[in-house]
Every structure is written in structure tokens, then in C-alpha cells.
């Protein structure tokens, strides 16, 4: 494999990994605060729809992004209401949110555009175009480093750079601020946080809504970030679940989340590009490559290779002592 092909595969891995990264960080905030979130998929899907639809109607990708975030946050609010306020089962709430998004996007989409759930194709300012970083064209001639800078690092849309910037930001918020300390504490031992006079409900709602924002960006990326041009029915296609898998694979940490999502993005890129891969004596079927993120996650969860320990209070509603 020459450098050109390698860079193409890596580049496509970054593109495919970006929505996973954003959704994974969304899950990170929520689950670190003790609220399981299997509704990442649904929030992304609804966000992708509203981003695509509003970007088309207004002609502005940025307004689309805002609409996507708003759509995702509305579902996050439902999740918060069900799992924090009414102390319902967080997993069941997540399942409901996924189906709600799956059905509503088609119903509203068909009603607005009559295209079977799709939005019309986006052109010009209605979608995020790729950015050429300064000097990328000038340096393209430099051997090895030039193409890496030009093809791999430069030439993505602004949302990709936002996603990458979100990693150190998430790390800083979680591990270097008072809010982050409290957020992690509320996921481990909410009673202690409550005793310290900090509101468990408010902290968890903040975390769940932050997850809504990040899922909103992830969804907007899917629908409005070039080369994508509009929303398509069920366009998340399980990405929310891969992001969830990546979150576990990354053991609920931001930097490892970057690694895990890029790895899973790369796996997808490889399976798209090469289909069945011959490894000497036998052929690795494309289906195996597609299932690999899930298999890896199960292996990690089983603790055969390192142990993934979720936040201790995850999944439990907090009931104040009376």
C-alpha cells in the first residue's frame, strides 16, 4: 500500500470517526454523571434531521447546526425528565428516545419535504465546506509530511476541528474544574455530593444537556458537513451504538475516547475500501470488520483485556434521604 492510499484510508477514518467522537464525548459527560445514555443514536438522528432541514430552509449551515443542537437537546430534556426527575429506568428511556427519533424524523420529514424522509440536497452555504489550512497547498510538495498535512490534517470541515478541540476541552472541564470534580463525584457517590450541599439533580441535568449539545453537533456533522449533503432516513445507522461501544472501550476517559473512536472510524474506512481482506491463508470477510467494534467492546467489557469499570452510581436514580 502506497502513502497515497494509506492517507486516503486514514482521512476517511477521520471523517467516519468524527461523529463517533462527538457522540462518545456526549455519552462521557452523561455517564460520568451517573446517567446511562443509550439514546445517543436517537439524539444524533433527530439533530441530523433538524440540521439538514433548517440548513436547507434558511440556506445557512450554522443555523442548521443550532437547530440540530436544539433538536438533540429536546430529547436530552426528555431523558433528564424521565431518568432524573421521575427516577425512571434510564435504559428504557434511552430505548424510547431512539425509537421516537427514528419515527419522528420520517413523519416530519415526509410532511415538510415529501421526499420519503430525506431533505433536499444542500448546496453552498447550507453546508459546511472543507477548510484548507494555511500553507497546506504550499507545503504539499514536501515529501511525506507535506501530503500528511495537506490530505490528512487539512481539508476537513470546521466541525471536525471542533470535535478534536472538544477532547482537550472535555478533559479540562472534567479533571481541572470544580464543576468537573462534582460531575464525576455525582456519578460515583451522589449522596456525598448531596451532603456537601450541591444539587444532584442540577448537576445531572447539566451533564445530560451537555450530552445533548454534543450529540447535536454530531448529528449536524452527519447531515451538513461536506461531502454529505442533506439528511437521509435512518442516516445514523447505528453510529450512536458504536459511539457507546467506543465509550466503554475507552473506559469513560476523553483521550482514550479519541483513540477508540478513531480506531472504530478507521475500521469502518478499511471495511468500506477493501471489502474482503485476504490475510495469507484466509480471507477476513467484510461482515467481520463491521462487527469488530462490537466484538472488541464485548471483550473489553468481559475484562479479558483490561477491565472497563463504569461509574459506580451509573444507572441509578438518586433518592434523597428523608
Amino acid at each position: 500500500m502506497d502513502l497515497q492510499t494509506l492517507l486516503q484510508v486514514l482521512d476517511s477514518g477521520v471523517r467516519l470517526g468524527t461523529p463517533l467522537l462527538l457522540a462518545c464525548l456526549a455519552g462521557l459527560f452523561s455517564e460520568r454523571a451517573g446517567v446511562f445514555d443509550i439514546g445517543l443514536e436517537g439524539k444524533m438522528l433527530l439533530a441530523a434531521f433538524f440540521a439538514g432541514a433548517v440548513a436547507f430552509l434558511t440556506g445557512s449551515a450554522w443555523l442548521g447546526l443550532l437547530a440540530g443542537i436544539a433538536g438533540s437537546m429536546s430529547l436530552a430534556l426528555v431523558h433528564g425528565l424521565a431518568s432524573i426527575t421521575f427516577r425512571g429506568n434510564q435504559l428504557i428511556s434511552g430505548v424510547a428516545i431512539n425509537f421516537l427519533a427514528s419515527g419522528l424524523t420520517v413523519l416530519i420529514g415526509q410532511n415538510w419535504f415529501h421526499l420519503g424522509g430525506r431533505t433536499p440536497p444542500l448546496k453552498g452555504a447550507a453546508r459546511f465546506e472543507s477548510i484548507t489550512l494555511p500553507g497546506a497547498d504550499a507545503l504539499a510538495g514536501v515529501p511525506v509530511l507535506g501530503p500528511i498535512y495537506h490530505d490528512l490534517i487539512s481539508g476537513h470541515t470546521v466541525l471536525v476541528y471542533i470535535a478534536f478541540a472538544a477532547v482537550p476541552l472535555t478533559w479540562w472541564v472534567l479533571f481541572r474544574t470544580r464543576f468537573g470534580l462534582r460531575l464525576r463525584a455525582v456519578g460515583e457517590n451522589p449522596a456525598a455530593v448531596d451532603t456537601a450541599g450541591v444539587s444532584v439533580v442540577r448537576l445531572r441535568f447539566t451533564a445530560v444537556l451537555l450530552a445533548g449539545v454534543l450529540c447535536g453537533i454530531a448529528g449536524a456533522y452527519l447531515a451538513t458537513s461536506a461531502p454529505s449533503a442533506g439528511f437521509g432516513k435512518e442516516m445514523t445507522a447505528g453510529k450512536g451504538f458504536i459511539a457507546l461501544a467506543a465509550l466503554i472501550f475507552a473506559k469513560w476517559r476523553p483521550w482514550t475516547a479519541l483513540g477508540a473512536t478513531m480506531l472504530f472510524g478507521l475500521l469502518e474506512a478499511v471495511s468500506i475500501r477493501f471489502q474482503n481482506i485476504g490475510v495469507g491463508l484466509f480471507v477476513v470477510p467484510v461482515q467481520f470488520m463491521q462487527a469488530l467494534p462490537y466484538i472488541l467492546t464485548v471483550v473489553i467489557l468481559a475484562g479479558f483485556v483490561g477491565k472497563a469499570t463504569p461509574p459506580r452510581a451509573g444507572g441509578e436514580a438518586y433518592v434523597k434521604e428523608r
Binding site: 443509550i38 426528555v78 425528565l81 424521565a82 431518568s83 421521575f86 427516577r87 425512571g88 429506568n89 434510564q90 435504559l91 428504557i92 428511556s93 430505548v95 424510547a96 428516545i97 431512539n98 425509537f99 421516537l100 427514528s102 419515527g103 419522528l104 420520517v106 413523519l107 416530519i108 415526509q110 410532511n111 424522509g117 447505528g238 451504538f241 457507546l244 461501544a245 466503554i248 470477510p285 461482515q287 467481520f288 463491521q290 462487527a291 462490537y294 466484538i295 467492546t297 464485548v298 467489557l301 468481559a302 475484562g303 479479558f304 463504569p310
Partner: protein
């Protein structure tokens, strides 16, 4: 907080949740410019108004009884088996392997063998997450969810590379032999006349009904059922009483996976008579809604499965005759899961408050 009367818990709250789900669905229908009342009438007419309609309603209900029971049994042990979809897929594979293995002379021989295939494959697919939960502490919701995707990949691989007839491009198995054909309800003596020739409802319906009774007997009339329920109420108390968490987790998930797998005798053997890629069509997930709606009781599951069968057939009719897309069914399903599952406490609080007020008035 005082205890609610049993009828309020078992009937009133689910019915209120259902009404809430329907009200929100009505708002959605209003929003897209259709009349909810007309839509409901069309659904009732389409799903129950003709032999054709309720043939389909019963066919869907049969699927949902199996998957609903599967989720319920696991819920009773406080295990959330979200992997019904994958287990039903693998159950389909089990049915296909059995049906294609021999030139079956008659369905009375083929059906028990296919049921065994479905149960073994479905249970096997649930066994791995169960073992991982019981022995390695992996969260069963996540592992069963992952196994849905892995199952889809396995099925895809097997259909494309192994079971697909060499002359076909379609990722599906060959047609099952004629001897493996299950009688449809129309073909049955005595009651056959009231069913339409063109509906897929078949003899699996009776197996599903028998499964409801069997699960009821298991849960409420056997020692294992008692242990399952005790384990579900309090794991630590169950351990103190000498109940092994490993044993219960394994048994429950094997039963649950087997029930999900059994769905395949209806959709794969009874309807399609070959295994296609997307045979399950989300029925595994509807099992969650059915179990929640049916309060994890086999009789409740039976009623909820009929309701969802109605919803599925009625929703298909809406998609055909109105501008309401067929996906309305998914919205209703989501709302039912939301209100009966996640927002159950909200309804409970409302009802408890109403009862408290009523009691104060009476006093």
C-alpha cells in the same frame, strides 16, 4: 406513601400511560394535517374490520407474544434483555438450518424440530451475554445490544456465503421444502373459514398462546419461577436464601433467548418459508414495549401483543390510504415505551396523589 389498590397498579396506570401515548400520537397526526379520529377509525377498520385485517393482526401479535414473553421473563429477574432482535435473528437461522436439512415429509415432524432449532440458536445467542454478566460482571444491556449487531453480521455472512443458493443474487436461503409448510389459520379445519386465504397467520399462534401459559406456570407455579422473581426483587436477599445468581441468570437468559428465537417459527417458517436478511423487522424491540405494557405478566403480554398487532396492521393501512407514513407505528411504540416504562413513576405519582385526595375527602 400508601399502597395503591392492585387494580390501580395493574390496570389503571398502564391504561393511563397508553392514553397518554395515544394523545401524543394524535398531536403528531394533527401536526401533519390529518384527522386523528379518522386515522383511528381507519386503523380499527384495517386491522379488525375484515378477515384479511385480523389475519395480519394475529400474525404480528404472534411475533410480539414470543418477544414480549422473552423480555418479561428477563425483567422478572431484573435483567434487561435488549437483545431479543439478535436472538430472533439467530432463531431464524436455527429454523432455516433445520428446515433445509431434510426433505421433511409433514409439518407435524418439521415443526417440533424447527422449534428445537429456533430455541437452541436463540438461547445460545443469549447464553454468551448471560455468562459474561454472571461470571465477568459485564453489563447485560450493553452486551446483549452488541450481540444484536454481531448477530446481524453473522446472519449476513451466513446468508451471503453459506446458505444462499449458488444461482441466486439475493442474500436469502432457498425455499423450505413443501413438507415444512405450516398450515395457515385458513387451512385449519373447523375455524379455517373465518380466516382469509392471503394472510400469514398460522398455527404458530397456538404455540405462542401455549408459551404464554407455560411462562405463567413457570413464573408462578414452579420453584424456579419463585427463585427468578425473588432474585429480581432483591439479589442480596436471594443469595441469603441460597439462590445462586449464576444459575438464575443463566436459566433466565436461556429461557428468554429461546423464547425470542421461537418467534422464527412464525415469521420465517410460517410466513416467508425461507430466511431473508431482515426477517425480524424490529419485533425484538417491540417485545420491550409489549413487556412494559403487559406489566411482565404473561396475560398482560398476551393483551399487549394483540394491541401491538393491531397497531402494526392498522399502521400499515394508514401508510397505504393516508399521507401518514407507516413510521407512525414507531412513534407510538416509542411513546408507549416512554410512558409505560421510563415515565411510569410520573403516572404513579399522579394516581397516588389522586387516591390520597380521595381518601382525605372520604375521611
Amino acid at each position: 406513601m400508601q399502597r395503591l389498590p392492585v387494580w390501580a397498579d395493574v390496570v389503571l396506570i398502564p391504561v393511563m400511560s397508553l392514553i397518554a401515548a395515544f394523545l401524543f400520537s394524535a398531536l403528531v397526526i394533527l401536526y401533519i394535517g390529518e384527522n386523528p379520529w379518522e386515522a383511528l377509525k381507519l386503523m380499527v377498520d384495517g386491522a379488525l374490520g375484515s378477515a384479511y385485517g385480523w389475519g395480519y393482526t394475529l400474525y404480528y401479535a404472534t411475533n410480539f407474544m414470543f418477544t414480549g414473553l422473552a423480555v418479561s421473563v428477563a425483567f422478572r429477574a431484573s435483567l434487561f434483555n435488549i437483545g431479543g432482535e439478535g436472538q430472533a435473528m439467530l432463531g431464524g437461522l436455527g429454523v432455516a438450518v433445520v428446515a433445509l436439512a431434510l426433505p421433511w415429509p409433514h409439518w407435524t415432524l418439521a415443526l417440533p424440530a424447527a422449534m428445537l432449532g429456533a430455541v437452541v440458536f436463540g438461547a445460545a445467542w443469549a447464553a454468551i451475554p448471560a455468562w459474561l454478566q454472571a461470571r465477568r460482571g459485564s453489563h447485560i444491556v450493553i452486551t446483549t445490544m452488541m450481540f444484536n449487531f454481531i448477530g446481524a453480521a453473522v446472519l449476513n455472512y451466513v446468508l451471503v456465503n453459506v446458505l444462499r443458493p449458488p444461482t441466486s443474487m439475493d442474500p436469502a436461503t432457498a425455499r423450505f421444502p413443501a413438507g415444512a409448510h405450516l398450515p395457515t389459520l385458513h387451512e385449519l379445519p373447523l375455524i379455517g373459514g373465518i380466516f382469509d386465504r392471503n394472510t400469514p397467520a398460522n398455527i404458530s399462534l397456538f404455540i405462542a398462546l401455549a408459551a404464554c401459559v407455560a411462562v405463567w406456570a413457570l413464573l408462578f407455579r414452579t420453584r424456579l419461577g419463585y427463585e427468578i422473581r425473588a432474585f429480581g426483587k432483591s439479589e442480596s436477599a436471594a443469595v441469603y436464601a441460597g439462590i445462586s445468581p449464576f444459575r438464575i441468570t443463566m436459566y433466565v437468559m436461556l429461557i428468554s433467548g429461546g423464547l425470542s428465537g421461537m418467534m422464527a417459527i412464525n415469521n420465517v417458517m410460517g410466513e416467508a418459508e425461507r430466511l431473508v436478511l431482515n426477517a425480524v423487522e424490529g419485533a425484538g424491540f417491540i417485545g420491550i414495549a409489549v413487556a412494559l405494557m403487559g406489566r411482565n405478566h404473561p396475560f398482560g403480554v398476551f393483551l399487549a401483543a394483540l394491541l401491538f398487532g393491531f397497531l402494526y396492521q392498522g399502521g400499515a393501512e394508514l401508510g397505504l390510504w393516508t399521507s401518514i407514513p407507516i413510521e407512525l407505528r414507531i412513534v407510538v411504540q416509542a411513546l408507549v415505551i416512554l410512558f409505560t416504562g421510563a415515565l411510569d413513576n410520573m403516572m404513579r405519582m399522579l394516581v397516588e396523589r389522586a387516591f390520597a385526595t380521595a381518601r382525605r375527602r372520604a375521611a
